[in-house]
Amino acid sequence: MGSKDETCFAISIIIIIIGLIFIAIVRVIYVVYRTSKPLRPKSPKPLSTLIVLGSGGHTAEMINVLSALQKDRFMPRFYVAAATDNMSLQKARVLEDLLADTNGGKVVSAKFMQIYRSREVGQSYITSIGTTLIAIAHALWLMIKIRPKVILCNGPGTCIPLCVIAFLFKVVGIRWSSVFYVESIARVKRLSLSGLLLYKLCIADQFYVQWPQLQRKYPRAIYVGCLICRYFSFG
């Protein structure tokens, strides 16, 4: 008698697990399908935006993109840079100050945050496992706090944990973040590792490249030409 109950119990558990896995797979397929479909809001509202900054050229290119966007559509803005990157947040602050000036002194809320890096250049792969876990936990914490509707990134490794978590949020239903990835102007024939991951895993809603060769090689990418109009040099 007892073993029959146990078998019934075990079978029902297995059925439930298979059911959940099935639902999860269907949900993931649906999310991948919906990703890259434009949004159709009835009345567009300002969208909270997460901007991932990287060292040197990455931030310079991102600032060029931000300068072309209407600031009242992308707010509040959250800037994230790696903990060891000192210049990028400074540059973002300068941009936001400029915006406050042209806005007639009205300060639009912008927050500047640092995130732990998964791996520093030259770090041993063994310690990298630990630091990657810390980085993922930190990224999760930031994403839960911010839950952005828009994510702008252009290449630094710091964007990977954030974008993967954004994808998981889509699957689980916590927040639908539109991920826009702009591959660097320095990438002519091959994508960067971050770009490759976001492209292959279909995590980016829109994937922009600045050279036509890349668009031919990666058909789902969109060629947008050279973005650098002003090179923001701070020294």
């Binding site: 993109v65 209407q70 828009v150 539109s178 002519v188 829109q206 922009y208 050279c226 020294g235």
Partner: protein
């Protein structure tokens, strides 16, 4: 009284002194400007930069006799080397007959100033260096670091060289590039435009076009 210019209220002696001062000031400025023009007429500086990298092969290559001779033959007077994290230090020298003056430093907070005052820029293949120089409209030779492992940087340098915006060279053949180059044949790099991307992002999110 109130309609009088302030100058009229100054007594004669002070007024003379003030005018004198002003003249001297303007005279000094003039001399300085003349000196600068004279300098810039005679001074043609080649600026070599490796950014924040370690690129001893390039610093060595520009410190060779044959390279400096090629520079001199092409009419350059000064060679300024930004050597970054490199270990090899070039030898400083004053301008002598038949050779260029050589100076170097490791890092600077104002690379842009050096770029602006250069007549020719020789740079590592970093995209930041490349675009900053092209933006300033300076002739540029990009030297690819063959010791780097994953050299995606060379893709950008080669693509821009193909489009005739700059010259691409290797450290060992740099002096030949100098000898063979025709800077007048380089095409200026057109300014980029971020508005197409902004439009696409806005459209995707459902914002109306402006």
């Amino acid at each position: 009284m109130s309609h009088r210019l302030p100058l009229c209220r100054v007594d004669r002696e002070t007024h003379k002194a003030w005018l004198c001062q002003r003249l001297i000031c303007e005279y000094n400025l003039c001399i300085k400007k003349m000196g600068e023009i004279e300098d810039s007429e005679n001074r043609r500086m080649v600026f070599v930069t490796v950014g924040t990298t370690l690129f001893d092969a390039l610093v060595r290559a520009v410190d060779t006799k044959e390279f400096k001779q090629e520079l001199f033959r092409k009419g350059y007077t000064h060679l300024l080397i930004q050597m970054g994290r490199g270990f090899y230090t070039p030898t400083k020298s004053e301008a002598e007959d038949g050779s260029v003056a050589v100076d170097y430093f490791t890092f600077s907070s104002s690379i842009a100033d050096h770029l602006r005052s250069a007549s020719l820029v020789i740079s590592h293949a970093g995209s930041g260096s490349i675009f900053e120089t092209l933006r300033l409209g300076k002739p540029l030779i990009v030297v690819v670091n063959e010791d780097l492992m994953d050299n995606h940087q060379s893709e950008l340098a080669e693509e821009l060289a193909e489009r005739k915006h700059l010259y691409c060279a290797r450290p060992r053949t740099l002096h030949r590039t100098i000898a063979d180059m025709d800077l007048a044949s380089l095409l200026p790099y057109p300014a980029g435009d971020a508005t197409p991307v902004a439009k696409l992002i806005n459209r995707f999110l459902g914002f109306p076009d402006d």
